[in-house]
Amino acid sequence: MDYDESPVLMKMKTVFKAFASQPVLQGVSLSLNHGEILALIGGNGAGKSTLMKIIAGLYKADSGDIEIEGEEVKFSAPADAHKKGVYLVPQEPMIFPNMTIEENIMIGMPVPPGVVRKRIKDEVKRLDWHLDTERLASTLSIAEQQLVEILRGLVRQADILILDEPTSTLTFGEINSLFKIVNSLTKEGLGVIYITHRFSEIFQLADSVAVLRGGVISLQGPVTDFTYKKLVEALMPIDKRSSGSEENHHSSMANTAMSTNEQPILSVHKLFGERFHDVSFDLFPGEILGVAGVVGAGRTELAEAIFGLAPWTSGTVTLLGDPIAKKSIRTRMNKGLVYVPEDRHSHGVFRIASIKKNMTSTILHRFKSIFLPFKKEKEITQEYMSALEIKSVGENAELSSLSGGNQQKVVLAKYLVTHPKVIILDEPTRGIDAGSREDIYKIITELQSNGLSVMLISSDIEEVVRLSDRVLVMYEGRIERIIKKQDLSIDAITSAAFGVKKEVVT
């Protein structure tokens, strides 16, 4: 490939993007050179995926320019981006299992099959891969699937490869071979944008680093200019830098007087599962235990296992002194354990049912009469609607007519009507407006003062710091650190969430 004229492969200037008036990207400028591996990091919700989807033509930017090889481009579909040599390898490879590798690569290419076949052969040979392209995709390991995804991009003559957390599903050996391939590709002039949560990979692989925070690139430069500490700092919100510890006096200290001899209400001991390993912790009555970590750290999987939605492979969970491994979800709920799911739309709500039907869905089996006690049902619903300040025309309003915040309150109410003792909240404030967010914080602290134990899973670190009595930080499926109230700061959580060892930070 010739790139003698200019080293700059792609350049984006002041790209803006908002979803439903919620700004995500607020003027991102970024450039990528030929042969460069640019690591892009950022917290959950920083806008990494949005940015990459704009480059790959899946989203349109509200404003801003993108130039590729000095030429301004406007993509309206991924096919346009492919034509300009931009190819996004998604986090989870999207492979059709019942087709051969070759067919998978050829799909959607407006080029005669013979030509593509030749190109595939050439690419495979050039990179010295041992891959039989006649194999069925269903026989491939995840790493091989990722190779096929990269091949897809190369056969489309991509100049810019975007890898979205490619190593999150790979084993150690697979990661090394992936790195080798990425390195050999860049030698030929390809530019790679590499999204990752793992700092070690940045120093191992990347030439330069860009940090996306709050919708702007807060820092960009050659990797040699950076240290772990500097990266952690760049990830933190500007006004919160190294002042996190002052934040955590909000939540009521009165309830945090946990004497050490108190019995834990929920106790997890050496729990192993597919996405979490060797997890042990105790939850005490009246405690809010924050659970922090990056997306994919295994927090939701852990919570779902505790609630009984998925089995764990070994270890024990005891609730009020009884092991609950063999118990059904309903029995766990009857014993006082509930889980408020992360994905409100697919796991939380019954969209076309009324608020009332949503709220009582968890307690229908507790009505002992043959017929539903409609009056009681209505009273319960109205009680919780006023307690949680759910705004709607009445208990019979269809759930889909409510705002996101009010829907979330209904989901919360649906589990509160069971009178739980332990409540696991998974991202309780994701995607809701600021007003409802404050309401939900208020509800959480009220629950705590009523003696409930709360496990608060959240990617919003400020939220975790503000509400929690203790914070458990997960990284790659393990508990990286348990941070006590007095040591709680945004700093401490961020560095643990990105797997940075304590001594590096302090």
Partner: protein, 337 residues
Amino acid sequence: MQNLIRYLCKWELALVLLLIIELIVFGSITPGFLNVGNILYSLNDFVYIGIAAIPMTYVILTGGIDVSVGAVMGLSSITAGVIWSHGANIWIAVIIALLATVVGGLINGLIVAFTGVQPLVVTLGTMFLYSGIALVISGGSSASGYEGISGFPENFVQLANSTILGIPNPIILLIILMAFFGAVLHFTPYGRHVVLVGINIKAARYSGIRTRWTVVSTYLLAGLGGGLGGLILTSYFGSARSDLGSEAILPVITAVVLGGTSIFGGKGSVIGTAIASIVIGFSQYGLQMASMSSEQTSVVIGVLLILAVVMRQGNWREIKRRLVSKKIPDNSKRGAV
């Protein structure tokens, strides 16, 4: 809820209106059609559709489908006939036949709930299985498929052929079933579970609802409905055959869908199903009166089914968009990154 009631009422009223129009049209085509006696007794000819369709409403409410219900009808008919012909009391034979259909429904439900295979595929398979078993049973008693077993005791034949207060018994059974299944659906925790599972089975599971058991139970009831329908037909014709009800599946599913139940689940009404089954029955009967063949009436039912689905569930905005826009953007490869 009030909106929902108003909406349902509107649809059910529309069905009643459709029924009246239908009767008037057939009345003008066929002289003597509009006669109370004729109408009541012709109901007997197709009441089995409603009997099978009412429990089927539950299956479709959960987002499933059971196409084996026609085969179950034949199975119940021939089972009762063969057991009786071997000397058992007819009522014991009937109970065993009903148990067989419950087991058939249970098998459907267990496979659907525990394997995750699409209900259509599962019940298509069991449809062949059950009609095969029915044939084997009928062969075992040397009763050929078309002659069947006849000569049942009078009190069994009278079950479907006599009246109470001038109303034929099968119609009374239909009304009882409608009231029972309607009440269970709208007024009991179980009925609410069925609806919630149909709206969002994952959310139902996260709510501690026993979703698998709920799904299994609906197939069990659908099997029972098929069994009742098959036995009513057996009594009505006075003969047991293995292929009884083999053409019932199309009108049964049409009745549920025309009755206002969403094929995606979560929304539906038993009363709508009952009225729709009568609408379909009369259209079959009336068209036959107007000397149409049963193949030709199938064309009409098919059209009715498609119209009902399109009218009730068609995504009009999407259809319009597709018609208007010339090119659909190519998101096939990277649709959900």
